[in-house]
């Protein structure tokens, strides 16, 4: 049972972290609960569908279907996160001012929740498909299934609790800074996803350059340990990055910075100068 709990929790931790950050980034938005709920629901549905077709996906594109799917999902999430940060650069200042002025006032309207709901959905989809396959394997074997299944369910619950913990931690940040913090977190989240995406393209055989390992810090901070795993999701920590991964990581951060700079209204720029 403990084994199942650990495996499911490990898969749930990444989606949980992302949901927690998205909840914090959308603080004060009226219908965010519905949007995020929709993202989780559709993501879980998609995970089930992917698990169902795992064999045909795996066999597609000369055996690279799974890697290409993962790379596309990550790539789409990176684009959505860029859109969100660009939008926040344009409107975030007004929102933060509004929040400090009227306390916990609810913001309505124009905020594009779609981008972040999609990010949540994609995170649940990617991690969820593995959980579904794992749990299916348990059910299919029959023996001692119920105890393992219980472990799986507890693992999911632990993932949800972790998500809530992330959210509460971020809520402790004063309202004036919260959007700055979540924008920076989202930029690093996206950079880490981009680095993962290029590795999947490499595994798919689509890219065959700059695959050399840059360094190996697995002895000090293993990526599959708890801390390594958290840092992996949060800032894209990789204990054995390739050259291409580092390039993708830095390029994503650079694009984020440029987008933010371009999207910031000139009025706001003068105010800070």
């Amino acid at each position: 049972m403990l084994g199942a709990l650990v495996i499911v929790f490990r898969e749930a931790i990444e989606a949980g972290l992302i949901i927690g950050i998205v909840m914090a980034a959308t603080r004060g938005v009226a219908d965010r609960g519905a949007w995020i709920g929709l993202g989780i629901g559709l993501g879980a549905l998609g995970a089930g569908i992917i698990a169902l077709f795992a064999e045909s996906i795996s066999g597609a594109f000369e055996g690279s279907g799974q890697e290409l799917l993962n790379a596309s999902v990550l790539g789409a999430a990176v684009v959505m996160l860029m859109w969100h940060n660009a939008w926040m650069a344009r409107h975030g200042r007004e929102m933060a001012a509004e929040m400090t002025a009227v306390g916990e006032a609810v913001m309505t309207g124009k905020r594009p929740m779609t981008a972040l709901a999609v990010v949540v959905g994609l995170a649940v989809l990617r991690e969820g498909a593995e959980v579904v396959l794992f749990l299916y394997g348990i059910v299919a074997t029959g023996t001692s299934a119920s105890s393992l299944l219980l472990g799986g369910v507890l693992g999911l619950a632990a993932g949800a609790a972790f998500s809530a913990l992330t959210y509460c931690g971020l809520l402790a940040i004063p309202a004036r800074y919260i959007f700055t913090v979540t924008t920076v977190l989202i930029a690093f989240l996206a950079a880490g996803m981009a680095a993962q995406a290029v590795q999947f393209l490499d595994a798919a055989g689509m890219i065959d350059v700059l695959g050399r390992r840059l360094w190996d810090t697995s002895a000090w901070l293993p990526q599959d340990g708890i801390l390594g795993r958290l840092l992996h999701t949060l800032i894209g920590y990789t204990d054995r990055p390739t050259e291409l991964q580092l390039i993708a990581y830095l390029a994503t951060l650079a694009v984020m910075a440029v987008l933010t700079w371009v999207a910031t209204p000139a009025r706001a720029q003068r105010a800070t100068a």
């Binding site: 066999g59 055996g63 396959l133 590795q199 595994a203 350059v209």
Partner: protein
């Protein structure tokens, strides 16, 4: 805006370079692995270092397995009763452990690059 165009250009160039090179380097060496009763057979594979290597993993169990290795940078689900291709390398000489994540107690193996 120019910054984005430049970065996009660099990324695109890198991808295109990768695509053109990948066809040239298609002569990756091939190895076979079998998953049976939640164990890898063989549990040890010796591969040449500095080269791309293809490992064909055949899962003969009825349940899915996940070939998982942070050392090899691979995470791939292999459905029950099916085959999958795992691409690794180029590796520097050394030991690279991998597990079947869904049955981590029994499914263990190591790639030795030399």
């Amino acid at each position: 805006m120019r910054g984005i165009v430049v970065v996009r250009g660099i990324v695109l160039a890198a991808v295109l370079a990768g695509l053109s090179l990948s066809s040239a380097a298609a002569v990756a060496q091939e190895f076979n692995l079998v998953i049976r009763n939640h164990k890898f057979e063989p549990e040890e594979i010796r591969v040449p270092s500095g080269k791309r290597v293809s490992i064909y993993v055949s899962n003969e169990d009825a349940t899915p397995e996940e070939f998982d290795s942070t050392a090899l940078k691979v995470e791939k689900v292999i459905p029950g009763k099916s085959k999958a291709l795992v691409r690794i390398g180029p590796l520097t000489p050394g030991h690279y452990e991998f597990i079947g994540e869904f049955n981590a107690d029994t499914a263990k193996g190591v790639v030795i690059a030399e």
